[in-house]
Symmetry: C2
Subunit: 245 residues, 2 copies
DNA sequence: TCAAAAGTGTTTTGTGTACACCCATGC
DNA sequence: GCATGGGTGTACACAAAACACTTTTGA
């Protein structure tokens, strides 16, 4: 056996010998969630590809060769919504061979949570619009599959991480919060049990104000404690405990 | 406003107008776990790049333009281990700009579980070897980060899905199973509580045999029920319930 | 007979869930 | 005064955790 170090090659040689493989497009697709009208909605755009005429697609773009993939998703979000301080999280890559009619394009899916009241989009035409997640059917590309994956991930995350507050205004009532959880999880929750669980998590602080202009008894307003507001918890580190002793 | 359909373009035109973006390499990296010597180990290979001389890297390869990304990970596993009926699951993409010295290469990480006793690798040189996860330090590329992510995902999954059995021989004792869980989670478990929880999950069947050649009282041997053995549960669908009423 | 692990149950504690009544406000 | 949601507590079931002794085998 010869010395392994003799087999070493430089990165440059490595690349040149595989040039034909650098022929795949990489895109990022953002599943941008908002909460509006008691529904979880996703921002979709009318596809501009003839092949998908009449169908909606996610907001996405090709990743530039000099651009980090996380930055690409931020860029798309900034370009489309004008917001840049948002919760964004990668879900996974989708890479079926024929998922894109332009050629081989692998896409990396991100989901994002934004407060619609914090930013009014220019929805001045019917190209770009919010659609209730529950009503989304056929989409361009494999985007229905991507939305489903992102929704599932979101459902998993909200149980342990204080991220849903990115979908709400700064001040909100417990009823609003509960309705949001119900919209995301697709289930009805018991009010007393819900409040108990939220209280235990200790995420909220009473802002000392009440709801106004509601046609019933006003509820207290809360906001997320500052310590949780600073940075979204990108790296979930839930210690495995269900089986620990 | 003009009719939106006038703006439609074909996929072909779309691709031609973005040709410079089809200049990114896409690779797949496999974190191949096995369980050996009461330790969780990963299959690593000595890097053949000068830039990473002396460091180990994951098994990976560029995705071919006509190859599905899931298939690419299967191909790598097959080429390296000879096994093709294995548990494989995508974790996420890693796409920092400078993560690869050859140029812009985005990688998609998979983890895999194999039974080392079911297949003896040709480890006849020191290029390819199993390393205990707990002892892995510096690696080529961002592969340490990738391993950490995959381990975390594995830890999450084993609590609800019967996947660890891919790391064990067909027949095993409850002690072996418990030691495996302990190796993956990095914690000690209580024997009685562990057995209770495994019994509740109802994954196992008694094969009616006992351990042999052990220097102590032999334990019963179990195997995973056939219904769980057929197909690994690739699409985890855990109904969110912690907050439901 | 010793070492080493197999096998087994009970108690306590915490969490999830189901459920009902009075209160405050706007109209 | 009526409709609407706000706000609160208790009882039961189940799951998690702590914990110790006897049994079986090989050496």
């Amino acid at each position: 056996m010869t010395n392994p170090s003799q087999h070493l090659k430089t990165a440059e040689i490595e690349k040149i010998s595989h040039l034909e493989y650098f022929n795949i497009g990489v895109s990022v697709d953002c599943v941008i969630f908002c909460y509006d009208d008691k529904q979880l909605k996703v921002l979709l755009i009318r596809s501009d590809l003839e092949e998908f005429s009449g169908l909606n697609s996610l907001l996405g773009d090709l990743v530039r060769p000099d651009e980090d993939i996380d930055n690409a998703s931020y860029r798309i979000l900034k370009e489309r919504t004008g917001m840049d301080d948002v919760y964004l999280e990668q879900v996974q890559a989708f890479g079926a061979i024929d998922r894109h009619p332009s050629g081989r394009v692998i896409t990396i899916a991100y989901y994002s949570l934004i407060d619609i009241k914090n930013h009014r989009l220019q929805l001045d035409n019917n190209e770009l619009n919010w659609y209730p997640v529950s009503q989304i059917r056929k989409m361009a590309f494999d985007h229905k599959l991507i939305i489903d994956s992102c929704l599932k991930r979101l459902q998993d995350q909200i149980l342990d991480n204080p991220i849903v507050f990115n979908l709400l205004p700064h001040k909100f009532s417990l009823r609003e919060l509960q309705e949001l959880y119900e919209a995301i999880l697709g289930v009805k929750l018991d009010r007393r049990n819900f409040r108990k669980k939220i209280a235990i998590k200790d995420w909220l602080e009473d802002v000392g104000e009440m709801e106004e202009d509601v046609p019933h008894r006003p509820g207290k307003l809360y906001s997320l404690k500052a310590e949780y507001r600073k940075k979204p918890n990108r790296h979930k580190i839930p210690a495995p405990k269900a089986l620990t002793s």
